[in-house]
């Protein structure tokens, strides 16, 4: 199978501090690839480098054989990015937001309206298409943000914490959508803190800690090799991170135990 994303020794330093430290991995065509790690591990910085929002300090990466530094415009035409924040325009309606994005991505004039309405129907927002974005609920905003990333039919989709802040039903419908996109052959690069979600969706996951990839494998293999029954326990064991436990002391107050 062809590699859609190839990353080799990719590094990003802020000053002298490496935030992403010589990471290498490949994502296969049509794969759902999870990129897991604790806060500040370098997940978002990696996505920012792969999508042209940040320049690498060293190393190489390509998406669909286009180099991220010299051919980023070609890459942007083929990828969709769902950032952690739902950052569409409050003063535009759902429909206008999608049409604006379609215009920016060069979707043909006669296709823009149909494509926007088709996405609004897919995401269950068609009845609210003329409402301003600011009037949408958090789940609806998230859904429209994802729809905006799909408006130009990208073959690779980057999802940065897509289900953060969503209720159970909205999160589940989003996971179903990811499964559908996967079934249609879209390559998906997913970062999430919800390891159950990664276990459910991803064919392979990379675990990144302090800017370095410590493990890449199938979730089942990771669980088996670490002797844990679920990915969360496997993740904690692999990363060596232990959760703090807040213990209430006698007479009030809390203490941190490990």
């Amino acid at each position: 199978m062809i590699n859609t994303i190839e990353v080799s020794e990719l590094t990003k330093k802020f000053g002298e501090i490496p935030v992403v430290d010589h990471i290498s991995f490949a994502v296969k065509e049509g794969e759902v690839f999870g990129f897991l790690g604790p806060n500040g591990a370098g997940k978002t910085t990696t996505i920012r480098m792969l999508t042209g929002l940040a320049q690498p300090s060293s190393g190489k990466a390509s998406i669909l054989n286009y180099d991220i530094q010299s051919e980023i415009t070609q890459i942007k035409k083929c990828i969709g990015v769902v950032p952690e924040a739902s950052n569409l325009y409050d003063e535009l309606s759902g429909l206008d937001n999608l049409i604006f994005m379609a215009r920016l991505f060069g979707v043909a004039r006669d296709e823009r309206g149909n494509r926007a309405e088709e996405l609004l129907k897919t995401f269950g927002l068609f009845d609210r298409k003329n409402d301003l974005f600011r009037k949408y609920s958090r789940g609806m905003k998230r859904a429209l943000t994802i729809a905006a990333a799909l408006v130009h039919k990208p073959s690779v989709l980057f999802l940065d914490e897509p289900t953060v802040g969503l209720d159970v039903v909205a999160a589940r419908s989003l996971r179903n959508l990811i499964k559908n996109l996967h079934a249609q052959g879209t390559t998906i690069f997913l970062t999430t803190h919800y390891l159950e979600e990664a276990d459910l969706l991803c064919e392979r996951v990379a675990i990144i800690v302090k800017g370095k990839i410590v493990k890449i494998d199938n979730p089942k293999v990771l669980k088996d090799s670490s002797g844990e029954g679920n990915l969360e326990d496997a993740f904690i064991k692999i990363t060596g991170l232990s959760p703090n436990v807040m213990v209430m002391e006698k007479g009030g107050g809390y203490n941190v135990a490990r």
Binding site: T73, L88, L104
Partner: protein
């Protein structure tokens, strides 16, 4: 590629007009504020109000073009919407030029209202071609100045504060109210370093039917400021995303 960029510049400007500019706060800051300011000076020292028209137009250009740049750049930077634009297959320069175009068009609209109003109400008769050239170049120059200062800070309030410094210095030193030629020589040197001086001079020249070379000199100097501001603003924004 250039087609993608041109399309982006146009649609970003269009979106900004709809989303930010054509709202009551933008209009009031762009038009009401300069009129009130000029009226205050007129009431303090009444004379022929027509002499204040070039200053009124210059202030309208300055305040209308710079007023919303802080919002369209810093507000979007904070929300992450600016990054969303940068995820499109267009260059950083195209995104910034789209923002500048939106500010400049808004400035042209506001200045157009004030200029036509002045001509109709006060019966002043400028050289329309000269006036149009100076207003057009000035609107782009000050929209770019607004963008340049905004890309140096993160928050909207920081941008507004930062913008007020050159705005008010220019209003006092560039001949908007008091002719620059009557100021002390050392202040004239300082005012010659500020783009508004050439806007005011060009506007006064347009109303006085000055020789063409004076107007074109002002136009060329304003264009040089414009090029410098565009270059600096694009470089600064690019650095933010390195």
């Amino acid at each position: 590629m250039w087609r993608d960029n041109l399309r982006a510049i146009y649609y970003i400007a269009l979106k900004d007009m709809k989303t930010y500019y054509l709202k009551p706060p933008g209009v009031s800051w762009g038009v009401v504020f300069p009129i009130t300011w000029i009226l205050a000076f007129y009431l303090r020292a009444p004379g022929d109000f027509r002499e204040l028209v070039p200053g009124l137009i210059a202030m309208t250009i300055l305040f209308s073009t710079t007023a919303a740049e802080a919002v369209v750049i810093n507000f979007e930077m904070r929300l992450g919407s600016l990054e969303r634009l940068l995820l499109a297959p267009v260059t950083v320069s195209a995104v910034l030029l789209g923002k500048i175009l939106g500010g400049a068009i808004f400035g042209l609209m506001m200045t157009g209202i004030v200029t036509v109003g002045s001509i109709v109400v006060l019966g002043v008769h400028p050289h329309i071609l000269y006036l149009s050239i100076i207003i057009l170049i000035s609107c782009f120059t000050f929209a770019t100045l607004g963008a340049l200062l905004c890309v140096f800070v993160k928050e909207v309030f920081e941008a507004q504060t930062l913008l007020n410094l050159p705005r008010f210095i220019m209003v006092f030193l560039c001949g908007v109210i008091y002719p620059a030629s009557k100021m002390p020589v050392w202040l004239q040197y300082i005012s010659s370093l500020m783009p508004l001086t050439y806007t005011v001079e060009g506007l006064r020249g347009s109303f006085a039917f000055s020789p063409a070379h004076i107007i074109f000199k002002d136009g060329i100097i304003l264009s040089a400021f414009l090029s410098l501001f565009v270059f600096m603003a694009i470089n600064r924004l690019k650095k933010k995303f390195e």
